[in-house]
Amino acid sequence: MKVGLFIPCYVDAVYPEVGVATYKLLRHLGIDVTYPEKQTCCGQPMANAGFEKQAIPLAEKFEEKFKAFDYVVAPSVSCTAFIRMNYPRLLGGKTPQHTGEGHICETAKKCMDVVEFLHDVVQVRQMLGTFPHKVSLHNSCHGVRELGLSSPSEQHVEKFNKIKDLLQLVDGINVVEPERPDECCGFGGMFSVEETAVSAQMGKDKVERHIATGAEYVTGPDCSCLMHMAGVASKQGLNIQFKHVVEILAAGL
């Protein structure tokens, strides 16, 4: 099983330690993972802002770079969801010159968030890192409602949470969830600079609910939510720390 590691643009530029933790964790589990060079962005920021067409050349590059792998794994639920939900359509209209036939996107269905990859494909059972702290779980919207990492609070379905399942494999950890466990934190990409007041209010409300659990850390499967909440927390003088799920899973490995 060959795994291609996709490190989205803002993780690469702002949170390289999350990329490192993902790489180390996959290696630790004996997975054949490689990081293809010259990756940039999946195109989600432009598409959510209304310029989906600008994502097409990026999707083509992505497809070319990753199509030989069995799986493409990324530490980001929103980028993964964007690729899985939209690439087949974005690339569907393209006709490669060498075949003359309609293009079938290969990477979309192979692209997985690291949490679902570890939970569903690798099916990790062994104990992972050590993190003796109380941690409040942040269920990112696209993880919940597009990738199905946990049961959405809106639906009448059996309760589950794949992130929580994985975190139980960490020694010493105490995992809690805030009140309104899957309400949006208010990032929303361009939303955060276009609807600044509502975005900041949502972020503040969310961070306060995480703090109310008594946790020392907030952890989640998407750095963009964490980046937003950390920025709001720091501006508002709210004291709590933020870590991506993989950083905790890989802690001390």
């Binding site: 530029a13 060079e37 940039t40 802002a49 939303f191 276009e194």
Partner: protein, 456 residues
């Protein structure tokens, strides 16, 4: 980059206590709705069924409309067809004029709000009295509904108490007890029912097989509006027709559970024909854009909407910005979509009032892909000429940066510089991110450099 919505939302949030109360009030309704959904084992199957019924009916609407009209006429009702708001208002006025109506009581109808019927009739000398308590309150206050199911939810009992004193509805000054205020409203409305010459209802459903108009209320005001005056006019949007009672049973189980978190409305009233001593009942079927929207491949499913309001209650942006921050009279996720179907130029500003969290479409009892549709509207703004030029520029910039790995590498190589720029300077540059956030610390090396050490 601000829109009408973002400016209004900013104002709304300037009163933090009120904003907090508004959010908590709607979250409480969402929680009540969740309890109801969890209480029905077959809730998700019902959603699937409800969506399928609506998809079927809307794609066979010509047949069902004909069936409905034929059966309604067989029952003795007079059926009218209005192609738009103006024609609807003319028909209503024509009927009222024929019967020499001076005053009409009205139970809740968002369709008449859509057609701006009240001001049309008032300009022609006809008094229109709203009888749903929430609607009556905002009518007396000269306001529009801030929510489609709970139109006066933005007001508290002191606001209502003062309003009732000013209008002479309550007599004990300073008594803002909700039970007292409701009692005074009841007395005042009782008089309106008894002195009105006509009553108008909306319709939650029209039943094709029987020609029934079905109206769901908690206050019984639709029944009072139709059993006191001698003339009943029912206004119904084309998309509200469903095949039969079996289908109604599905929606009846969901509407109130989804909307207000109650197992059912207090009254579910069926109107088929006028009572023996009254005039003929009139039913006005209103198109006003709907037949055109059916042909829109990306957005026709909005017509499945049963107007429960649950997408508003769950929307984190609606809860923190209020109904008046949207440019269309229906706010929240479904209002964003309906507004765009109505007029793209007037309502493009609303489509950015969404984080794409998708809670709306996960809560929707008829499974409208509300969030996905907002995403689709965004893709069209450039063609409509309503895309934000700054945003467009930013995206073009990102595309250039991300499209070229060499440029991207150069940019990320200099990003550590941001660490030595104090955050207060970033704030002063009117960086919109800095309005709500401290700037992030950039690392010394991006991942694509760091990984080289690990791979060796």
């Amino acid at each position: 980059m601000s829109t009408q919505h973002s400016k209004a939302a900013k104002e709304f949030l300037k009163n933090p206590n009120y904003a907090k109360w508004h959010d908590a009030t709607f979250w409480a309704v969402r929680t009540k709705r969740d309890n109801m959904a969890q209480g029905l084992e077959e809730w998700e199957q019902l959603r699937e069924k409800a969506s399928a019924i609506k998809r079927h009916t809307i794609t066979h609407l010509d047949e069902y409309l004909n069936q409905f009209a034929t059966n309604a006429e067989k029952n003795g009702a007079i059926v009218h067809w209005a192609k738009d708001a103006h024609e609807f208002n003319e028909i209503v006025y024509g009927i009222l004029k024929n019967h020499d109506v001076k005053k009409m009581v009205k139970s809740k109808s968002m369709l008449t709000e859509e057609c701006e019927m009240n001001p049309y009739l008032e300009a022609r000398g006809i008094e229109v009295v709203e009888t749903d308590l929430g609607e009556r309150i905002i009518q007396l206050k000269g306001q529009k509904p801030s929510h489609i199911v709970m139109p006066a939810i933005h007001l508290n009992h002191d606001d209502v108490g003062e309003l009732f004193e000013e209008k002479g509805i309550s007599t004990e000054k300073g008594n803002h007890d909700p039970t007292y205020l409701t009692y005074r409203a009841r007395l005042s409305l009782r008089n309106e029912f008894l002195t009105a010459d006509a009553g108008m209802t909306g319709a939650n459903f029209g039943i094709a097989k029987t020609g029934d108009i079905v109206v769901c209320t908690n206050e019984g005001n639709a029944d009072m509006s139709t059993s006191c005056p001698k003339l009943h006019i029912a206004a119904i949007g084309l998309e509200k027709v469903i095949p039969d009672y079996d289908c109604l049973a599905v929606f009846q189980r969901m509407l109130c559970r989804a909307g207000t978190g109650q197992p059912t409305t207090t009254y579910t009233s069926h109107f088929r024909k006028a009572r023996p001593t009254a005039h003929h009942m009139h039913i006005i079927l209103v198109d006003n854009g709907r037949s055109e929207w059916i042909g829109n491949p990306d957005h026709w499913e909005v017509l499945k909407c049963i107007r429960c309001g649950s997408c508003m209650n769950t929307c984190p942006v609606y809860r923190r910005s209020g109904g008046y921050s949207y440019s269309y009279f229906i706010p929240g996720p479904v209002g964003i979509n309906l507004g765009m179907l109505r007029d793209t130029q007037a309502h493009s500003g609303n489509v950015s009032a969404c984080t794409l969290c998708l809670s709306c479409q996960t809560v929707c009892p008829v499974k409208i892909d509300l969030g996905d549709q907002i995403y689709k509207w965004r893709q069209q703004l450039d063609d409509f000429g309503t895309a934000n030029p700054q945003k467009k520029l930013m995206c073009a910039g990102m595309n250039m940066l991300f499209g070229s790995p060499t440029m991207y590498k150069m940019a990320t190589a200099v990003s550590p510089l941001a660490n030595i720029i104090p955050s207060f300077i970033m704030n002063m540059k009117l960086n919109p991110w800095a309005e709500g956030h401290e700037m992030m610390k950039f690392p010394k090396k991006p991942f694509h450099e760091m990984i080289k050490d690990y791979e060796q």
